[in-house]
């Protein structure tokens, strides 16, 4: 007798679909906020008295830099909502990069704001008195001064040099204090900022804008974490692929309703004592199906090593999927897929998704035979699609050519390179080398796609 449980047929997960947002919409929102902020400043006095005296000039400047600093902060906060509207258009890696740039802009404006404020207040009392007033003399300024220190500390911790000294988790928890810092300095905008202290309408708009964006973060960012935690996936199998490389399959009954696409990545968090607070990005290494999500993980650091040693049955909280570098970019063209090391994971998922007409060529770069994984799988997939695989294995010094991704070498290997769509996954240096080489070989830059966010 057959089992009475109904088994759903295994099928590919549906695609998350694209965003409705256009580049022009993003421009319109940034323009709107800037218009409102500068308009408010102008309407409340703006440049009046600008040529008259240093006090008035500095006051006007400290106002506008303060307002623009807030605007940059608010835009940066919108990016960390990871809203699908933006994420499915630009990809999480780009959003986080813009977030970083806005953070730098905010801090520079903040420093200008401080300089102009102290300058304005130091007339006629002197710099010492100005600093005294601005760190405690004025109402709410003590709170604001501490908040400012938090914000500057967070910026400092994100500078490349400091960032490299800190573990990811340490950096992340420092980063969270930015919320405290922003909250602490918000009061002085309302009480002392002349745009809000006396103009009720402007005040309600400004407070409302902050409330909306904070609620958005709570709903979208923290809400997605809560939703992923409520329905965790479980490790269904762990397979040793190569030295230090493991593939992990995650399953869950709710995958039926889940949407994901080959080439995307997840933030994985294993629910194990001492690990649950670490989330790290990993790319899918096969087309996501209702049977499970497969990730190929290499032990490269403390956190990813723990992930390779995960046990079957462990609960995993998977936030995502994120990323817009998917094999759909190939369309009806032919493809060149370049993998470096564990970058082979996403390349396998791309391959599985490609049509036979794409005649994919795979270049697989690895430092030693022991590192090579999924090779048989790739050979089978490539054969079905009339493509071929080239492996470049060995340390750089032992390769026959100095730069395997120079345009000459690439063209010799792949004469029709210029008409192909190039997709790269691997270490940053290799991604750059491939981008440079294929661009020089005549591939238009819109046909070169790279994923860097995975580990």
């Amino acid at each position: 007798m057959p089992q009475r449980t109904i088994r759903m047929p295994i099928r590919k997960l549906r695609s998350p679909g694209t965003s409705l947002i256009r580049d022009t919409d993003v421009g319109a929102v940034i323009g709107f906020l800037t218009l409102v902020v500068v308009g408010m400043w102008w309407h409340h006095g703006g440049m009046i008295g600008f040529g008259n005296s240093m006090v008035l000039r500095m006051t006007a400047l400290d106002q506008i830099t303060g307002l623009l600093c807030s605007e940059a902060g608010l835009l940066g906060l919108i990016l960390v909502t990871r809203t699908p509207l933006l994420e499915r258009k630009y990809g999480l890696d780009r959003l986080l990069n813009w977030h970083r740039l806005l953070g730098v802009a905010m801090s520079l404006l903040l420093i200008l704001h401080i300089v102009f404020s102290v300058w304005a207040w130091s007339i006629p009392g002197g710099v010492f008195n100005a600093v005294k007033s601005l760190t405690g003399g004025e109402s709410y300024m003590a709170l604001t001064a501490v908040g400012t220190l938090f914000v500057l500390l967070v910026t400092l911790s994100s500078l490349k040099w400091f960032r490299n000294q800190l573990s990811y988790e340490m950096w992340y928890f420092i980063h969270l204090t930015v919320y405290v810092g922003l909250a602490m300095s918000f009061s002085h905008q309302i009480v002392l900022g002349s745009d809000f202290a006396t103009d009720k309408f402007a005040r309600w708009f400004w407070v409302g804008l902050h409330v909306v964006i904070i609620s958005w973060i709570i709903w979208s960012r923290w809400g997605s974490l809560v939703r992923a935690s409520v329905r965790p996936l479980r490790v269904a199998s762990v397979t040793h692929e190569a030295q230090g490389v493991t593939s992990v399959v995650l399953q869950g009954s709710h995958l039926q309703q889940h949407r994901a696409q080959a080439g995307q990545f997840y933030l994985l968090r294993q629910v194990v004592r001492g690990r649950w607070w670490q989330a790290n990005p990993f790319s899918l290494s096969s087309v996501p199906t209702t049977a499970g999500l497969r990730f190929t993980i290499k032990a490269r650091g403390e956190a990813s090593e723990a992930m390779t040693k995960i046990r079957v049955g462990t609960k995993v909280i998977a936030e995502g999927p994120y990323g817009v570098c998917t094999p759909d970019a190939v369309g009806d063209k032919k493809a060149l897929l370049v993998a470096g090391g564990v970058g082979i994971g996403p390349i396998v998922s791309y391959l599985e998704h490609l049509k036979p007409s794409s005649e994919p060529i795979v270049l697989y770069r690895a430092h030693s035979d022991k590192e090579v994984s999924h090779l048989e799988e790739i050979e089978a997939l490539v054969k079905e699609r009339n493509g071929r695989v080239h492996t470049l294995i060995g340390p750089r010094a032992k390769l026959k050519v100095a730069d395997p991704f120079s345009p000459n070498v690439l063209l010799k290997l792949i004469p029709d390179l210029a008409s192909r769509v190039v997709m790269v996954a691997g270490p940053e240096s290799m991604v750059k080398a491939v981008q440079r080489g294929s661009k020089a070989a005549g591939v238009p830059s819109e046909n070169i796609h790279a994923e860097r966010a995975w580990w």
Binding site: S15, G49, L192, S194
Partner: protein, 206 residues
């Protein structure tokens, strides 16, 4: 239906209207918002106020009035007075100072009677309007009286804030005989303009 959505990152080319409409709509909202700020008429009132009180460079020579009795409240019993009229020519300073601004008769030993030069300050323009002071000095050149000739009164909040703060600033200025005055929370911009105006007068004195 949802499966017909285009895949991630691939969008059909938007129409011109689709590209332009959000920008136009948001610009309209933004302009509407800014023009609604602080009451819909404040913009024009502010402009009139500026037109009525042309900007005076604080570094320009200050007016020294020869006959104090012509415009100055020299004979007034209190030293702190506040004139809520915006036009200096017709200013008749009144002693309607709020209750918490107690009249000060601080007369240090060396200052003598308050019957020296009357000096009108330049108009110090700031975000909310103009502050102009009339000061009086003793024959020994000590600041002994300050009257506010002009302050921003086109907005209700400006009047409230200044009615409260300016008498206190007057009082402190006379007590200290200088522009070293503590700012009052909420009246910081008035304070900056007040100090700028007073400092300009003091700088012009020998």
């Amino acid at each position: 239906m949802s499966q017909n959505r285009p895949p991630i990152g691939r969008q059909s080319k938007p129409t011109f209207a689709r590209q332009v409409m959000p920008a136009v709509a948001l610009t309209a909202v933004g302009v509407g918002f800014v023009s609604l700020l602080d009451g819909s008429t404040s913009g024009s009132v502010g402009q009139t106020a500026v037109a009525m009180n042309p900007v005076v460079d604080p570094n320009a020579p200050t007016t020294i009035v020869a006959d104090p009795n012509a415009t100055a409240p020299a004979a007034q019993p209190t030293n702190t007075t506040l004139a809520p009229t915006p036009v200096p020519a017709t200013a008749t300073p009144v002693t309607a100072a709020p209750a918490n601004a107690t009249p000060v008769t601080a007369a240090p030993a060396n200052s003598g009677a308050c019957d020296g030069d009357v000096v009108t300050s330049p108009s110090a323009q700031f975000r909310y309007g103009v502050i102009q002071l009339q000061t009086q000095f003793t024959t020994a050149n000590v600041l002994c009286n300050v009257t506010v000739l002009q302050f921003p009164n086109d907005r209700r909040t400006s009047v409230q804030i200044n009615n409260y703060a300016l008498p206190i600033y007057n009082q402190e200025a006379v007590q200290n005989h200088s522009a070293k005055i503590r700012a009052i929370s909420g009246a910081t911009y008035s304070w900056q303009a007040y100090v700028a105006a007073l400092q300009a007068v003091l700088d012009s004195r020998p």
